[in-house]
Symmetry: C2
Subunit: 348 residues, 2 copies
C-alpha cells in the first residue's frame, strides 16, 4: 500500500467536485471534510466513498448547488432543509448552528432533513470541541442492512451515534459507532480487500454466520447486544429521521444501488455547553483523570493495552499528516478510473 | 407466586418511608414511582429494591428531607443538586423542569448531582410523553460491575439509557436498557430466584462465562457489542456524572455494600418538544406507521413475534393494574422482615 499526502488527496477531490459543477470554495470544504476521516484512520468513511458520491451526482441524485436553509426554529432547536446537497456541507452548517445556539442557551438540538451521506459522524460531533462543548451526532444510515430483532425484513440501518468530549492534556474522547457490531462500510472494505469477516458481523436468514463479504447481500448485520442494539437503532432512526421529516425504515433509499432517487437523509447534531454545568477547566481536568485511571486498569489475558474511545485516531492523525495516508491499490484504481472518465488529473 | 394489588404495595412503601421520617406526601409520591416499575413489569427496579433503600436510610446514607435545588441554570439547561435525597423525588423534579424548559426553547438538558438510585429510567423519560415530547434519561449506575474493554478493574457501571417516544393509537415506544448485556438487577433477581444466567451476561477475569449468579462477585458484566458498549457506558457516565459534578468511575460508591457513604449519583433528563420539528399529529401518525411496518416484518425461524421496545410493558401494566402484581415469595419475605423490624404493617 502506498501513502499519499493529504493535500494531494484534497486537491484531487476538489478537482472532481468542481468538474461536476460544485462551487470552488464548497468543493474544497467537502474535500477537507472527507479527508479528515482518512486522516483519523476512518478509511471506511473517507475518500473510499467518493466514487459513490460521484455516481449519485452524475446520475442526478444529488443537488450540486443546494439552498440549505432553516425551515423551523426555536431558541435551542432548528430544523435544517439540506435541499438534497452533499451531506458534508449540510452537517457542517448544522454543527455550526448548534454550537452558536448552545452558546446562548446551554444546549441545542439541530435536526436535518433532505441531506445525503456525510461521511463519519465524529467529523461533526468534534466541531463542538473548539467551543468547549460536547458534540453528539445521530444519523439514519444510508442503506437498510438490519431487520428488527426476530425479523428478516431489512427495515433498519446501522444508525450511528458519535460523541465528542474534550480533555485537557489528553486527546478528546471520541466515540463513533454504528449500532450494529460492524458498519456496512467495513463489510464493503473487507470485500474490496478480499478479507474474511469475523463471526458476529453478519448472519443469514436462518441465523448462520456469514464470513465471506461477497455474500453480504444474502444476509444482514447483527445489532450490538441483540435486541438492545435493535432498540437503539430504531430510536436513533426516529430521532434523526422521522422527527425531522427525513426518511426512516422502509423509506430509506439504498445509496449503494439507487443513485437517482433523493435519499432524504436525516441527521441530528446536539451541542452541549460544558460551562452551563461546571468550569471548563475543572471538567477537562476530570477527563484527564478519567483517561489516566482507565489506562492504568489491570489488563485481561491477551490484551496489551486499554484504549479510550478514539484514542488511536489521534495518533493516526499525527502520523498521517506527516507520512501521508495509506490507501490500498484497488481504491486508487477505482478513484483513477473515475478521474479518467471525468478528465480530471489522476492521483499519482 | 402471589399477586398483590398495586395500591396495597404503594401503601406499604409509604408506611415504611413515613416511619423513616419521610414527609407523608413525598413518601406517597416515591411509593407510586417505585410501584410504577413493578406495574410495567420491570420487577428488577421496583419494590424489590426497597430493602436496600431502607438499609441506606437507617444507616444514615440518605437524606430524608432534602433541599433539592437548581444550582446552575441557563435557558435550556439546569444543574439540580439533589442534596442526597432519594433518587425518585429528585428525578421527578428534574423531568418536570426539563419539560417546562423545553416547552419554551424546544429542548432542555437537566443534569443532576447528589442524587441516589431512582429506580427505572423509563419512569422519568416517560414523563415527557404527557407534554407531547420525547424524553431521554441517562444515569451513572449505582455500582461498578464493568471494566474498560480489555481490563479487569471494575471502573464502570451499567450506565443506562432510556428513551420514550409517543405514538398515536399504539403504545409509546420505550427503550430502557443498560449498556451491558444485562443489568446487575437481573443478576440479583436470578440469585434471589436461584436461576442460572445465560452465557453472555457475565465473565470471570480469565474471560470464562459465569452462569451461577452466586458467583457474580468473581467476575463482571459484559458490555453490548464489546468495545462499543464499553464506549457507550463511558460516555453516558461522563455525561450523567462528570459534567454534573457527580461520581463517576473509581468514585462510584457500591450501593449494595456501602450504605453509609453519600453516593453522589448523577443523572440527566433531556426533553425534546416534537412541535419544534413537526406537528405532533403528523409525528404520532408516523410512529403508528413504523409500529405497523415493524410488526409485520417476516420472522426468523424460532421467533413467533416481533416486538417494539417497551411493547410488552404496556400489556403488563394493564394486566397488573387489574389482576395485581406478581411478587415472588423470597422478596415478600425480605420485605416483611424489614417491615417487622420497623413495626410497620406487613404485606398480606
Amino acid at each position: 500500500m502506498k501513502k499519499y499526502n493529504h493535500k494531494t488527496l484534497e486537491i484531487f477531490i476538489k478537482n472532481v467536485l468542481t468538474k461536476l459543477k460544485m462551487d470552488n470554495k464548497e468543493a474544497l470544504k467537502v474535500a477537507k471534510l472527507i479527508i479528515q476521516s482518512d486522516l483519523y484512520g476512518v478509511d471506511t468513511h473517507g475518500i473510499f466513498r467518493l466514487p459513490n458520491y460521484v455516481k449519485r451526482i452524475t446520475e442526478g441524485g444529488m443537488n450540486m448547488n443546494p439552498n440549505i436553509k432553516v425551515i423551523k426554529e426555536r431558541k435551542s432547536t432548528a430544523l435544517l432543509d439540506g435541499d438534497n446537497g452533499i451531506g458534508h456541507i449540510i452537517m457542517h452548517k448544522a454543527a455550526k448552528l448548534a454550537v452558536k445556539k448552545a452558546a446562548k442557551t446551554g444546549v441545542a438540538w439541530v435536526g436535518v432533513k433532505n441531506s445525503n451521506h456525510a461521511g463519519a459522524g465524529a467529523t461533526y460531533a468534534m466541531m463542538s470541541l473548539k467551543k468547549n462543548m460536547v458534540g453528539i451526532y445521530l444519523a439514519v444510515g444510508s442503506a437498510n442492512h438490519l431487520p428488527p430483532w426476530g425479523g428478516i425484513d431489512m427495515l433498519l440501518s446501522t444508525n450511528p451515534i458519535a460523541i465528542a468530549i474534550p480533555a485537557k492534556s489528553r486527546p478528546p474522547i471520541i466515540l463513533d459507532m454504528a449500532t450494529t457490531n460492524t458498519s456496512y462500510g467495513k463489510v464493503k472494505l473487507a470485500a474490496s480487500n478480499n478479507k474474511a469477516m469475523p463471526i458476529g458481523w453478519m448472519q443469514d436468514k436462518e441465523g448462520n454466520p456469514i464470513t465471506n463479504p461477497k455474500d453480504a447481500d444474502k444476509g444482514f448485520l447483527i445489532p450490538i447486544g441483540g435486541p438492545k442494539g435493535y432498540g437503539l437503532a430504531l430510536m436513533i432512526g426516529i430521532l434523526a429521521g422521522t422527527i425531522n421529516g427525513a426518511a426512516f425504515g422502509k423509506d430509506v433509499i439504498d445509496f449503494n444501488s439507487d443513485f437517482k432517487t433523493t435519499t432524504n437523509t436525516g441527521h441530528v447534531l446536539i451541542a452541549l455547553d460544558i460551562e452551563a454545568f461546571m468550569p471548563f477547566e475543572t471538567f477537562t481536568n476530570e477527563i484527564d483523570n478519567i483517561w489516566n485511571v482507565i489506562k492504568s486498569s489491570r489488563k485481561m489475558d491477551g490484551y496489551s493495552d486499554i484504549r479510550l474511545p478514539g484514542e488511536n485516531r489521534h495518533f493516526l492523525y499525527e502520523e498521517n499528516i506527516k507520512e501521508g495516508i495509506e490507501i490500498n491499490k484497488s481504491t486508487i484504481l477505482r478513484l483513477n478510473e473515475m478521474a479518467t472518465s471525468l478528465s480530471v488529473p489522476l492521483i499519482i
